[in-house]
Amino acid sequence: MNGTEDTRFPRWRAASLLRNRAFLTVLIVALVWIVAAFAKPGFGSYGHLRYLLELAAVIGLVAIGQTYVVIAGGIDLSVGAIVTVSAVGVPLVALSGDSSGAFAVIAILAAATGIGLLNGLGVAYLRIHPMIMTLAMATFLQGVLILIAGGTAISAQNPLLAWLGNARIIGIPAGVILWTIVSAAALAVLHATPFGARLFALGANPLASALSGVNVQRTTMAVYAVSGLTAGLAGVLVLGMNGQGYVGIGDPYLLASIAAVVLGGTSILGGSGSYAGTIPGAILLVTITALITVVNASAGWRSILFGSLILLLLLLSGRESQRR
């Protein structure tokens, strides 16, 4: 019986790791860290690596939703704006009776999810192209934020956020712990539930999915809602780490989230990939940024490097599209 099992479902082999994009990205990150640690003393110190992880946590959270959306065959260009909404919004909804600050956080996360749901509504039912829908949403939100917050930074007096941004549990920042827990849940949903399987179905062939009984519209709505939620969560974390929110605080996370997804081996065409690759992808991004700061190069180089990296990886996945 074991024989048939092996021919039907071949045993896992170590060699297959080398074709696993997520694993390769982990290797690259490790390599960069080791080389940098030898080249620049202090880069490899625990404190510095911990700091890098803390920065990566924000990108990583935004990229959860982005990974889901991209696997399901879409793209979410509104995540940066949602991060800002959340970072600026929490201080605004602070209530006197809410001493722990939990109410404000929950209200803002609900709002972020609602924004994502609206994106999904537009994409699923009005059949607006995801790029246009989410870009329009981002632009709209940006306008609302300017009207409400103006150009000033708003400080948060929120105990929960202060804890989230600064606390260490056995030496590990609370933000990194939050990221770890949410990542585990995200991976489980993606790879171990029917909902996760539907995302892969949708991204690979929406028509065949619909004819196989997958509710394409509802799944699309859900996936953009998840993206709104994780972007909102990232905004909360940014606010906790920063202490104050301002318009534009979320802008860097849009491109970073897409870069992390693509670096992690998720096909930009949808249908294949994993959040397991996005995690090292996010860490790689902050590592490159840190390296450039350490060698005292201009911030211009960072943008040039990011841009080239994304183009290179998209070229690779463009080659993939010819094989389909």
């Binding site: 048939t4 099992e5 021919t7 039907r8 479902f9 071949p10 489980a188 949903v189 171990a192 539930t193 029917p194 909902f195 399987a197 539907r198 892969f200 179905a201 690979a204 062939n205 028509l207 065949a208 999915s209 619909a210 004819l211 196989s212 009984g213 997958v214 509710n215 859900a222 249908g271 294949s272 389909r324």
Partner: protein, 501 residues
């Protein structure tokens, strides 16, 4: 006859992936003659046209233009020799105007720019020929289908062809437009143009054409003048092959209660159809391509908006409003285009088999991986799909892909199976396996609706066949009256003496 053919194919053959589509076919198009090309779906008509227009190269045989044998005919050489093809699928750009579409690819130029004045003048001349009186700057997308077909013909005439190939030109034309086309073709014949006319409407062919070539399974079965031939004779030439032992023995279903019943059903092309589907039988859906067969299946499946005066589906009294609802009512659908509609090519075989389950399972319950593997293995064994089930589906042959597309519905054991051309592009061995499987399903009491473009399949496998024409059921043929002749005759509207049901 001393006339020299403008273009002639001599003994050409062509195969696709080892399947011979044309074998030793000869055809000669003479100036001033309307030549009909007849044959069933898949007889090789389109391939022959593609050979004549240079779109495909023959594997064997030769093509001669004006008596000169060409080593290799390219599309541009064919165009230069004056061969114009009016395709069945319209090749117009809907955003461009009528005049631009007509001139596209052959724009008159002045100083390197498009000379719109000349274009308009020449376009107006050909439009007058085909009776297009619309404003020439109207975007083609705004025209009804029949008018677009006329634009397509005008586009071919714009190039002043010596050979005009018309692939089912009248399928979307009104009676008046068809009449204009007839007059036009008579005029072209007078002017010495060679015309190759492909149509499934036999009456039209009998009225219009002088000469006929009939293809059957890629071979010429007749090449003669149309004088003294009747419609029934032509039908006989197009059908009738040896089914061999491809099909399992047919046994009548014992007790066949109705499981689906619709009255006044409309969907897409379909208008006001009455249909009963019974347990324990295979109901065939026949007819020429695109007469509403797919709309019927998709409408019943809840994938297209449909309406019905009365409907009974497996106990409920309404049409399923969505695919999920249809699945819940026990319907399953296997599409014709399995690569586009049926399968997720980049995912594994086992994953594809599980998809319907993923579609209706509660979204956040943990998947049972071991159970999935066990189920996939059983399904693969049952349908004899060999080898590693973690391979991507795109690695499989067409026949095995079709088995996966069928297998994924088995776990939920649906009592009603809607199959859209399940044996298209499938090798003979797999065909046989699928036929056996379908008969077994019927014996188990499932209801099977089988739409097929393969007439022998309908005759030898089905209990009843509904032949569709122009969005309606032209005739319901019971098993004892089933024959290829009966199906083809009903599909083409050449009704035999016994009257239609």
């Amino acid at each position: 006859m001393t006339l020299q053919p403008i273009i002639a194919a001599r003994g050409v053959s062509r195969s696709f992936f080892g399947n011979p589509v044309l074998q030793d076919v000869s055809i000669a198009l003479l100036p001033g003659r309307i030549h009909a090309l007849l044959g069933e779906n898949g007889a090789g008509k389109s391939t022959l046209i593609n050979l004549l227009s240079g779109a495909l190269a023959p594997d064997g045989g030769e093509i001669a233009i004006d008596g000169k044998v060409l080593r290799k005919l390219t599309p541009s050489e064919a165009r230069r020799a004056g061969i114009a093809v009016v395709q069945q699928e319209l090749s117009l750009t809907s955003e461009l105007s009528i005049a631009e579409n007509i001139g596209l690819g052959a724009f008159p130029r002045r100083f390197g720019l498009v000379d719109y004045a000349t274009l308009a003048r020449k376009a107006r001349a050909v439009c007058a020929l085909v009776g297009l009186d619309e404003n020439l700057s109207t975007p083609v997308g705004d025209l009804p289908l029949g008018r677009r077909q006329m634009v397509e013909i005008a586009k071919a005439l714009f190039r002043e062809p010596r050979v005009l190939v018309l692939d089912e030109p009248t399928s979307s034309l009104s009676a008046h437009e068809a009449d204009t086309l007839t007059k036009l073709l008579h005029r072209l014949r007078q002017a010495g143009t060679a015309i190759l006319y492909i149509s499934h409407r036999l009456n039209e062919v009998m009225r219009l054409c002088d000469y006929v070539t009939v293809l059957k399974d890629g071979k010429v079965t007749a090449d003669r003048s149309l004088q003294g031939v009747d419609a029934a004779g032509l039908v006989r030439l197009m059908v009738g092959r040896d089914p061999g032992d491809l099909f399992p023995k047919w046994t009548p279903g014992k007790d066949c209660p109705t499981i689906v019943s619709v009255a006044g059903f409309s969907c897409g092309l379909l208008r006001d159809i009455d249909l009963d589907i019974r347990r324990g039988e295979i109901l065939g859906i026949g007819g020429l391509v695109g007469q509403g067969q797919e709309d019927l299946l998709l409408g019943l499946y809840g994938a297209l908006p449909a309406s019905a005066r009365q409907a009974a589906f497996n106990g409920t009294q309404s049409l399923p409003a969505s695919v999920s609802k249809a699945n819940a009512l026990g319907l399953a659908y296997v599409p014709a285009d399995r690569k586009r509609e049926g399968l997720h090519l980049i995912h594994s075989i086992a994953w594809n088999m599980m998809l319907p389950h993923f579609g209706h399972a509660s979204p956040l319950r943990l998947r049972d991986r071991a159970g999935e593997r066990e189920l996939a293995r059983q399904l693969a064994d049952r349908l004899s799909i060999k080898g590693d089930l973690t391979r991507q589906v795109q690695a499989l042959s067409g026949g095995n892909q079709q088995k996966v597309a069928l297998a994924k519905w088995m776990p939920s054991d649906p009592p009603i199976l809607l199959l859209n051309d399940p044996t298209r592009g499938v090798d003979v061995e797999t065909k046989r396996e699928i036929y056996v499987l379908l008969r077994r399903f019927a014996a188990e009491g499932k209801a099977i609706v089988l739409s097929s473009s393969d007439t022998p399949e309908l005759v030898h496998l089905c209990d009843r066949v509904a032949v569709m024409r122009e969005g309606g059921i032209a005739r319901m043929i019971e098993h004892r009256e089933l024959s290829e002749e009966a199906i083809v005759a009903a599909a083409m509207g050449a009704e035999p003496a016994r009257s239609a049901a």
